[in-house]
Protein backbone atom coordinates (compact mmCIF):
# COMPACT_ATOMS: atom_id res chain seq x y z
CA UNK A 1 0.00 0.00 0.00
CA UNK A 2 2.80 2.33 0.95
CA UNK A 3 4.65 1.53 -2.25
CA UNK A 4 1.50 2.22 -4.23
CA UNK A 5 1.03 5.54 -2.48
CA UNK A 6 4.63 6.47 -3.15
CA UNK A 7 4.19 5.58 -6.79
CA UNK A 8 1.12 7.71 -7.06
CA UNK A 9 2.87 10.46 -5.21
CA UNK A 10 5.86 10.18 -7.47
CA UNK A 11 3.62 10.37 -10.50
CA UNK A 12 1.87 13.38 -9.06
CA UNK A 13 5.20 15.09 -8.37
CA UNK A 14 6.51 14.76 -11.86
CA UNK A 15 3.70 16.72 -13.42
CA UNK A 16 4.46 19.94 -11.52
CA UNK A 17 6.97 22.47 -12.65
CA UNK A 18 8.46 25.67 -11.45
CA UNK A 19 6.92 28.51 -13.38
CA UNK A 20 9.58 30.88 -14.48
CA UNK A 21 7.65 33.86 -15.62
CA UNK A 22 10.11 36.59 -14.79
CA UNK A 23 9.94 39.28 -12.19
CA UNK A 24 6.62 40.28 -10.65
CA UNK A 25 5.05 43.53 -11.81
CA UNK A 26 6.05 46.75 -10.11
CA UNK A 27 3.55 48.07 -7.60
CA UNK A 28 2.76 51.05 -9.78
CA UNK A 29 1.37 48.69 -12.36
CA UNK A 30 -1.71 47.97 -10.27
CA UNK A 31 -4.68 50.28 -10.69
CA UNK A 32 -6.12 51.64 -7.46
CA UNK A 33 -9.53 50.11 -7.93
CA UNK A 34 -7.99 46.66 -8.44
CA UNK A 35 -6.10 47.04 -5.20
CA UNK A 36 -9.24 48.23 -3.41
CA UNK A 37 -11.13 45.24 -4.73
CA UNK A 38 -8.33 42.98 -3.55
CA UNK A 39 -8.54 44.56 -0.12
CA UNK A 40 -12.21 43.71 0.10
CA UNK A 41 -11.56 40.16 -1.01
CA UNK A 42 -8.76 39.74 1.49
CA UNK A 43 -11.14 40.93 4.19
CA UNK A 44 -13.73 38.39 3.12
CA UNK A 45 -11.06 35.73 3.07
CA UNK A 46 -9.85 36.77 6.50
CA UNK A 47 -6.34 36.15 5.17
CA UNK A 48 -4.85 38.29 7.91
CA UNK A 49 -5.97 35.90 10.65
CA UNK A 50 -3.84 32.98 9.54
CA UNK A 51 -1.08 35.00 7.98
CA UNK A 52 -0.35 37.33 10.90
CA UNK A 53 1.48 36.22 14.00
CA UNK A 54 0.28 37.36 17.41
CA UNK A 55 1.65 40.89 17.80
CA UNK A 56 3.22 40.51 14.35
CA UNK A 57 2.94 42.74 11.32
CA UNK A 58 -0.14 42.16 9.18
CA UNK A 59 0.28 39.49 6.51
CA UNK A 60 3.88 38.87 7.51
CA UNK A 61 3.15 35.27 8.47
CA UNK A 62 4.19 33.16 11.41
CA UNK A 63 0.77 32.25 12.78
CA UNK A 64 0.67 28.60 13.89
CA UNK A 65 -2.23 26.53 12.56
CA UNK A 66 -2.60 23.30 14.48
CA UNK A 67 -3.58 20.29 12.45
CA UNK A 68 -3.79 16.65 13.51
CA UNK A 69 -0.55 16.18 11.58
CA UNK A 70 1.48 18.92 13.14
CA UNK A 71 1.71 22.68 13.00
CA UNK A 72 1.67 24.63 9.78
CA UNK A 73 2.75 28.27 9.90
CA UNK A 74 0.95 30.81 7.79
CA UNK A 75 3.39 32.15 5.22
CA UNK A 76 4.57 35.70 4.73
CA UNK A 77 2.24 37.23 2.16
CA UNK A 78 3.94 40.61 2.06
CA UNK A 79 5.94 41.34 -1.09
CA UNK A 80 9.28 40.91 0.61
CA UNK A 81 11.55 39.38 -2.04
CA UNK A 82 13.47 37.17 0.35
CA UNK A 83 10.88 35.91 2.83
CA UNK A 84 7.52 36.81 1.28
CA UNK A 85 5.79 36.86 -2.09
CA UNK A 86 8.09 39.48 -3.53
CA UNK A 87 9.30 37.25 -6.34
CA UNK A 88 6.02 35.53 -7.12
CA UNK A 89 4.39 36.19 -10.45
CA UNK A 90 0.66 36.40 -10.82
CA UNK A 91 0.66 33.02 -12.51
CA UNK A 92 2.41 31.40 -9.57
CA UNK A 93 0.00 33.06 -7.21
CA UNK A 94 -2.95 31.82 -9.20
CA UNK A 95 -1.58 28.30 -9.23
CA UNK A 96 -1.17 28.35 -5.47
CA UNK A 97 -4.80 29.30 -4.95
CA UNK A 98 -6.23 27.10 -7.68
CA UNK A 99 -4.07 24.01 -7.36
CA UNK A 100 -2.36 24.23 -4.03
CA UNK A 101 1.15 24.37 -5.44
CA UNK A 102 3.99 26.59 -4.22
CA UNK A 103 6.52 28.55 -6.19
CA UNK A 104 9.03 25.69 -6.11
CA UNK A 105 6.42 23.36 -7.55
CA UNK A 106 5.81 21.75 -4.16
CA UNK A 107 2.42 20.72 -2.83
CA UNK A 108 1.03 23.07 -0.22
CA UNK A 109 -0.47 21.57 2.92
CA UNK A 110 -4.24 21.90 2.82
CA UNK A 111 -4.21 23.78 6.08
CA UNK A 112 -4.10 26.48 3.44
CA UNK A 113 -7.66 25.95 2.20
CA UNK A 114 -7.05 25.93 -1.53
CA UNK A 115 -9.88 23.46 -1.75
CA UNK A 116 -11.99 26.58 -1.29
CA UNK A 117 -9.82 29.15 -3.03
CA UNK A 118 -9.77 27.03 -6.16
CA UNK A 119 -13.29 28.31 -6.78
CA UNK A 120 -12.10 31.90 -7.24
CA UNK A 121 -12.61 33.62 -10.55
CA UNK A 122 -9.47 34.74 -12.32
CA UNK A 123 -9.95 38.43 -11.91
CA UNK A 124 -10.63 38.06 -8.20
CA UNK A 125 -7.32 36.24 -7.96
CA UNK A 126 -5.78 39.07 -9.92
CA UNK A 127 -7.23 41.63 -7.51
CA UNK A 128 -5.90 39.69 -4.53
CA UNK A 129 -2.52 39.61 -6.15
CA UNK A 130 -2.63 43.35 -6.73
CA UNK A 131 -3.55 43.86 -3.10
CA UNK A 132 -0.84 41.66 -1.66
CA UNK A 133 1.88 42.98 -3.94
CA UNK A 134 1.16 46.52 -2.79
CA UNK A 135 1.44 45.79 0.94
CA UNK A 136 4.47 46.97 2.86
CA UNK A 137 7.17 44.35 2.44
CA UNK A 138 8.16 42.86 5.76
CA UNK A 139 11.20 40.71 6.16
CA UNK A 140 10.06 37.82 8.30
CA UNK A 141 11.43 34.32 8.21
CA UNK A 142 8.47 32.17 9.17
CA UNK A 143 9.22 29.18 11.45
CA UNK A 144 9.46 25.81 9.77
CA UNK A 145 6.35 23.64 9.73
CA UNK A 146 6.36 20.65 12.05
CA UNK A 147 4.13 18.49 9.95
CA UNK A 148 4.87 14.77 10.08
CA UNK A 149 3.43 14.12 6.65
CA UNK A 150 5.85 14.69 3.78
CA UNK A 151 4.59 16.98 1.06
CA UNK A 152 4.58 14.19 -1.44
CA UNK A 153 1.70 12.53 0.40
CA UNK A 154 -0.37 15.61 -0.17
CA UNK A 155 -0.60 14.46 -3.79
CA UNK A 156 -2.56 11.46 -2.59
CA UNK A 157 -4.74 13.59 -0.41
CA UNK A 158 -5.45 15.79 -3.36
CA UNK A 159 -6.38 12.83 -5.50
CA UNK A 160 -8.88 11.71 -2.91
CA UNK A 161 -10.35 14.97 -1.75
CA UNK A 162 -9.35 17.92 -3.90
CA UNK A 163 -11.36 18.92 -6.96
CA UNK A 164 -9.79 22.02 -8.45
CA UNK A 165 -11.86 24.28 -10.62
CA UNK A 166 -13.55 27.62 -10.80
CA UNK A 167 -16.96 28.24 -9.29
CA UNK A 168 -19.84 27.69 -11.65
CA UNK A 169 -22.93 29.75 -11.01
CA UNK A 170 -26.31 28.10 -11.16
CA UNK A 171 -28.23 30.46 -13.47
CA UNK A 172 -31.59 29.33 -12.10
CA UNK A 173 -30.76 30.46 -8.62
CA UNK A 174 -31.37 33.83 -7.02
CA UNK A 175 -28.31 35.90 -8.05
CA UNK A 176 -27.83 37.16 -4.55
CA UNK A 177 -27.61 33.64 -3.20
CA UNK A 178 -25.27 32.75 -6.01
CA UNK A 179 -22.99 35.63 -5.09
CA UNK A 180 -23.21 34.66 -1.44
CA UNK A 181 -22.39 31.05 -2.24
CA UNK A 182 -19.46 32.09 -4.38
CA UNK A 183 -18.01 34.35 -1.70
CA UNK A 184 -18.68 31.99 1.19
CA UNK A 185 -17.44 28.86 -0.53
CA UNK A 186 -14.37 30.42 -2.09
CA UNK A 187 -12.83 33.18 0.00
CA UNK A 188 -15.06 32.91 3.02
CA UNK A 189 -13.99 29.26 3.31
CA UNK A 190 -16.65 28.95 5.98
CA UNK A 191 -16.77 25.19 5.54
CA UNK A 192 -13.13 24.96 6.52
CA UNK A 193 -14.24 25.52 10.11
CA UNK A 194 -17.95 24.80 10.07
CA UNK A 195 -17.75 21.39 8.34
CA UNK A 196 -16.48 18.31 10.23
CA UNK A 197 -13.31 16.67 8.91
CA UNK A 198 -12.35 13.07 8.44
CA UNK A 199 -9.27 11.34 9.81
CA UNK A 200 -7.15 12.61 6.97
CA UNK A 201 -8.23 16.13 7.67
CA UNK A 202 -10.52 16.59 4.71
CA UNK A 203 -13.97 18.14 4.96
CA UNK A 204 -16.77 15.63 5.00
CA UNK A 205 -18.73 16.88 2.05
CA UNK A 206 -21.79 14.83 2.95
CA UNK A 207 -21.91 16.58 6.30
CA UNK A 208 -21.35 20.07 4.99
CA UNK A 209 -21.81 22.72 7.65
CA UNK A 210 -22.63 20.23 10.37
CA UNK A 211 -20.14 21.94 12.69
CA UNK A 212 -16.39 21.69 13.25
CA UNK A 213 -13.58 22.36 15.67
CA UNK A 214 -10.97 25.09 15.32
CA UNK A 215 -8.36 26.30 17.75
CA UNK A 216 -10.22 25.00 20.82
CA UNK A 217 -13.53 26.49 19.70
CA UNK A 218 -16.51 24.76 18.20
CA UNK A 219 -17.73 26.25 14.94
CA UNK A 220 -21.47 25.71 15.20
CA UNK A 221 -23.57 23.82 12.68
CA UNK A 222 -25.06 26.14 10.09
CA UNK A 223 -27.20 23.52 8.42
CA UNK A 224 -30.39 21.89 9.64
CA UNK A 225 -28.42 20.63 12.61
CA UNK A 226 -28.14 24.17 13.96
CA UNK A 227 -29.10 24.37 17.63
CA UNK A 228 -29.59 28.12 17.68
CA UNK A 229 -32.53 28.76 20.00
CA UNK A 230 -33.70 31.71 17.94
CA UNK A 231 -34.06 31.36 14.22
CA UNK A 232 -31.44 33.24 12.24
CA UNK A 233 -32.83 35.69 9.74
CA UNK A 234 -30.75 37.14 6.94
CA UNK A 235 -30.86 40.51 8.70
CA UNK A 236 -29.61 39.08 11.96
CA UNK A 237 -26.85 37.22 10.17
CA UNK A 238 -25.84 40.35 8.28
CA UNK A 239 -25.68 42.28 11.52
CA UNK A 240 -23.63 39.54 13.13
CA UNK A 241 -21.18 39.25 10.26
CA UNK A 242 -20.66 42.96 9.76
CA UNK A 243 -20.75 44.20 13.36
CA UNK A 244 -19.94 41.10 15.38
CA UNK A 245 -23.25 41.30 17.20
CA UNK A 246 -26.68 39.85 16.57
CA UNK A 247 -28.93 41.11 19.31
CA UNK A 248 -30.90 37.92 19.88
CA UNK A 249 -28.09 35.52 19.24
CA UNK A 250 -24.49 36.16 19.99
CA UNK A 251 -21.41 38.32 20.07
CA UNK A 252 -18.63 37.05 17.83
CA UNK A 253 -15.91 35.49 19.92
CA UNK A 254 -12.83 33.39 19.39
CA UNK A 255 -11.92 32.99 15.70
CA UNK A 256 -15.16 34.64 14.56
CA UNK A 257 -14.11 37.91 16.17
CA UNK A 258 -11.40 38.38 13.55
CA UNK A 259 -13.75 37.29 10.77
CA UNK A 260 -16.42 39.80 11.67
CA UNK A 261 -13.91 42.58 12.20
CA UNK A 262 -12.74 42.07 8.66
CA UNK A 263 -16.23 41.77 7.27
CA UNK A 264 -16.96 45.13 8.85
CA UNK A 265 -14.78 46.63 6.13
CA UNK A 266 -16.57 44.85 3.30
CA UNK A 267 -19.34 46.47 1.22
CA UNK A 268 -22.72 45.82 2.76
CA UNK A 269 -24.22 44.01 -0.20
CA UNK A 270 -21.45 41.43 -0.20
CA UNK A 271 -22.01 40.75 3.49
CA UNK A 272 -25.74 40.54 2.88
CA UNK A 273 -25.12 37.99 0.13
CA UNK A 274 -22.93 35.86 2.38
CA UNK A 275 -25.50 36.14 5.15
CA UNK A 276 -28.33 35.13 2.84
CA UNK A 277 -26.35 32.10 1.74
CA UNK A 278 -25.46 31.13 5.31
CA UNK A 279 -29.07 31.32 6.36
CA UNK A 280 -30.14 29.34 3.31
CA UNK A 281 -28.01 26.42 4.52
CA UNK A 282 -30.50 25.95 7.27
CA UNK A 283 -33.58 26.11 5.10
CA UNK A 284 -33.64 22.40 4.46
CA UNK A 285 -34.89 21.68 7.95
CA UNK A 286 -37.51 23.45 10.00
CA UNK A 287 -35.21 26.27 10.98
CA UNK A 288 -33.72 25.96 14.43
CA UNK A 289 -34.34 22.58 15.86
CA UNK A 290 -36.89 22.87 18.60
CA UNK A 291 -35.13 22.59 21.93
CA UNK A 292 -36.03 19.52 23.89
CA UNK A 293 -38.32 20.08 26.85
CA UNK A 294 -36.53 21.48 29.86
CA UNK A 295 -35.92 19.26 32.83
CA UNK A 296 -38.62 20.36 35.19
CA UNK A 297 -38.75 18.30 38.34
CA UNK A 298 -36.83 19.86 41.19
CA UNK A 299 -36.17 16.40 42.55
CA UNK A 300 -34.05 15.67 39.50
CA UNK A 301 -31.63 18.44 40.25
CA UNK A 302 -28.16 17.45 41.28
CA UNK A 303 -26.20 19.39 43.89
CA UNK A 304 -24.22 20.97 41.12
CA UNK A 305 -27.40 22.36 39.67
CA UNK A 306 -28.26 24.07 42.90
CA UNK A 307 -24.75 25.39 43.14
CA UNK A 308 -24.79 26.40 39.50
CA UNK A 309 -28.08 28.19 39.94
CA UNK A 310 -26.67 30.07 42.89
CA UNK A 311 -23.54 31.06 40.98
CA UNK A 312 -25.67 32.13 38.05
CA UNK A 313 -27.85 34.27 40.29
CA UNK A 314 -24.86 35.97 41.86
CA UNK A 315 -22.44 36.35 38.97
CA UNK A 316 -24.57 36.38 35.83
CA UNK A 317 -28.19 37.16 36.60
CA UNK A 318 -27.75 40.88 37.24
CA UNK A 319 -26.92 41.40 33.58
CA UNK A 320 -28.27 38.37 31.76
CA UNK A 321 -31.73 38.48 33.28
CA UNK A 322 -32.36 41.99 32.02
CA UNK A 323 -31.85 41.67 28.28
CA UNK A 324 -29.66 43.75 25.98
CA UNK A 325 -31.93 46.78 25.94
CA UNK A 326 -31.47 47.55 29.62
CA UNK A 327 -28.47 49.51 30.83
CA UNK A 328 -25.78 46.99 31.67
CA UNK A 329 -28.08 44.24 30.44
CA UNK A 330 -27.01 41.24 28.39
CA UNK A 331 -28.44 38.46 26.27
CA UNK A 332 -30.96 36.30 28.13
CA UNK A 333 -29.22 32.95 28.07
CA UNK A 334 -32.19 30.99 26.84
CA UNK A 335 -31.37 32.66 23.50
CA UNK A 336 -27.67 31.88 23.69
CA UNK A 337 -26.13 29.34 21.35
CA UNK A 338 -23.13 28.35 23.42
CA UNK A 339 -25.03 26.20 25.94
CA UNK A 340 -26.70 24.29 23.09
CA UNK A 341 -23.53 23.23 21.28
CA UNK A 342 -22.29 19.64 21.32
CA UNK A 343 -19.24 20.58 23.40
CA UNK A 344 -18.78 22.99 26.33
CA UNK A 345 -15.61 24.68 25.03
CA UNK A 346 -17.21 27.84 23.65
CA UNK A 347 -19.24 28.52 26.78
CA UNK A 348 -16.22 27.91 28.97
CA UNK A 349 -14.02 30.24 26.89
CA UNK A 350 -16.62 32.97 27.03
CA UNK A 351 -17.17 32.73 30.77
CA UNK A 352 -13.45 32.47 31.52
CA UNK A 353 -12.10 35.12 29.22
CA UNK A 354 -15.11 37.25 28.46
CA UNK A 355 -15.61 38.94 25.14
CA UNK A 356 -13.71 42.18 25.13
CA UNK A 357 -13.41 44.71 22.29
CA UNK A 358 -10.07 45.60 20.76
CA UNK A 359 -8.49 48.94 21.56
CA UNK A 360 -10.71 51.76 20.38
CA UNK A 361 -13.40 49.38 19.16
CA UNK A 362 -17.04 49.86 20.10
CA UNK A 363 -18.64 46.57 20.94
CA UNK A 364 -20.61 44.82 23.64
CA UNK A 365 -18.51 43.68 26.51
CA UNK A 366 -18.68 40.57 28.60
CA UNK A 367 -16.15 40.66 31.45
CA UNK A 368 -13.81 37.81 32.27
CA UNK A 369 -14.70 35.57 35.22
CA UNK A 370 -11.44 33.64 35.27
CA UNK A 371 -10.30 34.56 38.76
CA UNK A 372 -13.78 35.14 40.12
CA UNK A 373 -14.89 31.54 39.76
CA UNK A 374 -12.95 28.48 40.78
CA UNK A 375 -12.70 25.58 38.35
CA UNK A 376 -15.37 23.76 40.34
CA UNK A 377 -17.69 26.77 40.24
CA UNK A 378 -17.09 27.18 36.52
CA UNK A 379 -17.99 23.52 36.06
CA UNK A 380 -21.17 23.85 38.09
CA UNK A 381 -22.21 27.02 36.30
CA UNK A 382 -21.59 25.55 32.86
CA UNK A 383 -23.44 22.38 33.86
CA UNK A 384 -26.37 24.44 35.11
CA UNK A 385 -26.55 26.48 31.91
CA UNK A 386 -26.44 23.28 29.88
CA UNK A 387 -29.22 21.78 31.94
CA UNK A 388 -31.32 24.87 31.35
CA UNK A 389 -30.83 24.61 27.62
CA UNK A 390 -32.75 21.35 27.64
CA UNK A 391 -30.00 19.43 25.86
CA UNK A 392 -28.45 16.33 27.36
CA UNK A 393 -25.54 16.97 29.76
CA UNK A 394 -22.05 17.43 28.40
CA UNK A 395 -19.39 14.95 29.35
CA UNK A 396 -15.93 15.93 30.43
CA UNK A 397 -16.74 19.43 31.62
CA UNK A 398 -14.10 19.50 34.40
CA UNK A 399 -11.44 18.46 31.92
CA UNK A 400 -12.60 21.07 29.43
CA UNK A 401 -12.44 23.73 32.14
CA UNK A 402 -8.87 22.68 32.95
CA UNK A 403 -7.90 22.66 29.30
CA UNK A 404 -9.26 26.14 28.74
CA UNK A 405 -7.29 27.37 31.74
CA UNK A 406 -4.07 25.79 30.52
CA UNK A 407 -4.51 27.19 27.07
CA UNK A 408 -4.41 30.66 28.62
CA UNK A 409 -1.49 30.22 30.94
Amino acid sequence: MLVLLCAIAGAACSTRTVIDSGAPAATTAFPKDRIAKGATLAAIGDCASCHTAKDGKPYAGGFPVSTPFGTVYGTNLTPDPATGLGRWSEAEFRRALREGIGDHGEHLYPAFPYDHFTLLHDDDIGALYAFLMTRDPVRNEVPANTVIVPRAFVAVWKKLYFHPGEFRADPSRDPRLVRGEYLAESLGHCGACHTPRNKLGAEKKDEAYAGGEVGGWHAPALNAGSTSPARWTADAMTAYLSTGIADDHAIAAGPMAGVTRNLGHVPKDDVEAIAAYAVSLNSGGSGARAAPARRAAAGDRADSDVNGARIYAGACGDCHDRGRAADGGALPLQLAIAPTLPVPSNLIHIVRDGIVPQAGERSRWMPSFAGTLTDAEMTDLVTFLRANSGYPPWTGVPAAVREAKQARE
Partner: protein
Protein backbone atom coordinates in the same frame (compact mmCIF):
# COMPACT_ATOMS: atom_id res chain seq x y z
CA UNK B 1 -24.09 35.38 57.89
CA UNK B 2 -21.36 34.58 55.41
CA UNK B 3 -17.78 34.03 56.42
CA UNK B 4 -15.10 35.64 54.31
CA UNK B 5 -11.33 35.71 54.43
CA UNK B 6 -10.29 39.34 53.98
CA UNK B 7 -6.68 40.45 54.23
CA UNK B 8 -5.84 37.46 56.33
CA UNK B 9 -8.71 37.80 58.76
CA UNK B 10 -11.97 35.95 58.93
CA UNK B 11 -14.90 38.30 58.73
CA UNK B 12 -18.54 37.55 59.34
CA UNK B 13 -20.68 39.47 56.93
CA UNK B 14 -24.40 40.02 56.96
CA UNK B 15 -25.29 40.30 53.29
CA UNK B 16 -27.19 38.45 50.59
CA UNK B 17 -25.04 35.77 48.97
CA UNK B 18 -25.61 37.42 45.59
CA UNK B 19 -24.06 40.68 46.74
CA UNK B 20 -20.97 41.56 44.75
CA UNK B 21 -17.85 41.60 46.89
CA UNK B 22 -17.28 45.30 46.16
CA UNK B 23 -20.34 46.39 48.07
CA UNK B 24 -19.48 44.16 51.00
CA UNK B 25 -15.91 45.47 51.16
CA UNK B 26 -17.01 49.08 51.12
CA UNK B 27 -20.31 48.77 52.98
CA UNK B 28 -20.22 46.03 55.58
CA UNK B 29 -16.45 46.08 56.05
CA UNK B 30 -15.76 49.80 55.66
CA UNK B 31 -12.77 49.29 53.36
CA UNK B 32 -12.21 52.20 50.99
CA UNK B 33 -9.61 50.85 48.60
CA UNK B 34 -11.75 49.00 46.04
CA UNK B 35 -13.85 51.52 44.17
CA UNK B 36 -17.08 51.55 42.20
CA UNK B 37 -16.22 52.56 38.64
CA UNK B 38 -18.73 50.79 36.45
CA UNK B 39 -20.10 47.64 38.11
CA UNK B 40 -19.67 45.95 34.73
CA UNK B 41 -16.15 44.54 34.86
CA UNK B 42 -14.95 47.10 32.32
CA UNK B 43 -12.74 49.51 34.26
CA UNK B 44 -10.96 47.66 37.05
CA UNK B 45 -11.38 50.32 39.74
CA UNK B 46 -12.77 47.52 41.91
CA UNK B 47 -9.85 45.14 41.39
CA UNK B 48 -8.88 42.97 44.35
CA UNK B 49 -6.89 39.73 44.61
CA UNK B 50 -8.61 36.41 45.24
CA UNK B 51 -6.28 33.48 45.78
CA UNK B 52 -3.55 35.18 43.81
CA UNK B 53 -5.76 36.22 40.89
CA UNK B 54 -6.72 39.82 40.17
CA UNK B 55 -10.51 39.92 39.88
CA UNK B 56 -13.26 42.48 39.43
CA UNK B 57 -14.91 42.62 42.84
CA UNK B 58 -17.95 44.27 41.26
CA UNK B 59 -18.91 41.05 39.46
CA UNK B 60 -17.74 38.56 42.10
CA UNK B 61 -20.65 37.46 44.26
CA UNK B 62 -19.59 36.73 47.82
CA UNK B 63 -21.24 33.34 47.50
CA UNK B 64 -18.51 32.33 45.06
CA UNK B 65 -15.64 33.12 47.41
CA UNK B 66 -15.85 30.30 49.91
CA UNK B 67 -12.67 30.28 51.98
CA UNK B 68 -10.53 31.81 49.24
CA UNK B 69 -8.22 34.55 50.43
CA UNK B 70 -9.31 38.04 49.43
CA UNK B 71 -6.74 40.82 49.50
CA UNK B 72 -7.38 44.52 49.10
CA UNK B 73 -5.01 47.47 49.02
CA UNK B 74 -5.43 47.75 52.77
CA UNK B 75 -3.69 44.40 52.99
CA UNK B 76 -0.59 45.69 51.23
CA UNK B 77 0.39 48.01 54.04
CA UNK B 78 -0.71 51.03 56.07
CA UNK B 79 -0.13 54.76 55.86
CA UNK B 80 2.45 54.46 58.63
CA UNK B 81 3.95 51.29 57.25
CA UNK B 82 3.34 51.14 53.50
CA UNK B 83 4.27 47.99 51.61
CA UNK B 84 6.62 47.95 48.59
CA UNK B 85 3.83 48.52 46.06
CA UNK B 86 2.44 51.45 48.03
CA UNK B 87 5.89 52.92 48.60
CA UNK B 88 6.59 52.68 44.92
CA UNK B 89 3.44 54.59 44.04
CA UNK B 90 4.21 57.27 46.61
CA UNK B 91 7.81 57.63 45.49
CA UNK B 92 6.81 57.93 41.85
CA UNK B 93 3.90 60.25 42.79
CA UNK B 94 1.89 57.93 40.58
CA UNK B 95 -1.52 59.46 41.05
CA UNK B 96 -3.54 62.40 39.93
CA UNK B 97 -7.07 61.98 41.27
CA UNK B 98 -5.97 58.57 42.50
CA UNK B 99 -9.35 56.92 42.14
CA UNK B 100 -8.12 54.14 39.86
CA UNK B 101 -4.91 53.56 41.77
CA UNK B 102 -5.86 50.90 44.32
CA UNK B 103 -7.25 48.79 41.47
CA UNK B 104 -4.03 49.34 39.53
CA UNK B 105 -1.96 48.33 42.50
CA UNK B 106 -3.85 45.11 43.06
CA UNK B 107 -3.63 44.20 39.37
CA UNK B 108 0.09 44.86 39.47
CA UNK B 109 0.57 43.02 42.73
CA UNK B 110 -1.08 39.87 41.41
CA UNK B 111 0.98 40.11 38.22
CA UNK B 112 4.30 40.53 40.04
CA UNK B 113 3.59 37.78 42.53
CA UNK B 114 3.07 35.47 39.58
CA UNK B 115 6.07 36.66 37.62
CA UNK B 116 8.45 39.22 39.12
CA UNK B 117 10.45 39.36 35.89
CA UNK B 118 7.66 40.51 33.70
CA UNK B 119 8.59 42.65 30.67
CA UNK B 120 7.40 46.19 30.01
CA UNK B 121 5.24 44.95 27.14
CA UNK B 122 3.68 42.33 29.40
CA UNK B 123 3.06 44.95 32.09
CA UNK B 124 1.28 47.17 29.58
CA UNK B 125 -0.82 44.28 28.36
CA UNK B 126 -1.79 43.03 31.83
CA UNK B 127 -2.52 46.48 33.20
CA UNK B 128 -4.55 47.24 30.07
CA UNK B 129 -7.57 45.79 31.82
CA UNK B 130 -7.61 48.77 34.21
CA UNK B 131 -8.64 52.24 33.10
CA UNK B 132 -7.15 55.56 34.14
CA UNK B 133 -8.84 58.72 32.92
CA UNK B 134 -6.41 61.28 34.31
CA UNK B 135 -3.62 59.91 32.15
CA UNK B 136 -1.34 58.81 34.98
CA UNK B 137 -0.33 55.73 33.01
CA UNK B 138 3.35 56.52 32.52
CA UNK B 139 3.87 57.00 36.24
CA UNK B 140 1.87 53.90 37.04
CA UNK B 141 4.22 51.92 34.79
CA UNK B 142 7.21 53.45 36.53
CA UNK B 143 5.76 52.66 39.93
CA UNK B 144 5.05 49.07 38.96
CA UNK B 145 8.60 48.74 37.70
CA UNK B 146 9.88 50.19 40.93
CA UNK B 147 7.74 47.83 42.98
CA UNK B 148 8.98 44.90 40.91
CA UNK B 149 12.56 45.78 41.76
CA UNK B 150 11.74 46.28 45.42
CA UNK B 151 9.95 42.95 45.59
CA UNK B 152 12.80 41.22 43.80
CA UNK B 153 15.47 42.57 46.11
CA UNK B 154 13.33 41.83 49.14
CA UNK B 155 13.16 38.24 47.95
CA UNK B 156 16.84 38.17 47.30
CA UNK B 157 17.71 39.30 50.78
CA UNK B 158 15.62 36.72 52.66
Amino acid sequence: MIELNINGRTQQVDADPDTPLLYVLRGQLGLNGAKFGCGLGQCGACTVIVDGNAVFSCITPISALGTRAVRTVEGLGTIDNPGPMQRAFIEEQAAQCGYCIPGMMMRAQAMLERNPNVSEAEIRKTMGVNLCRCGTHMRILKAVGRAANAMKSAKGST
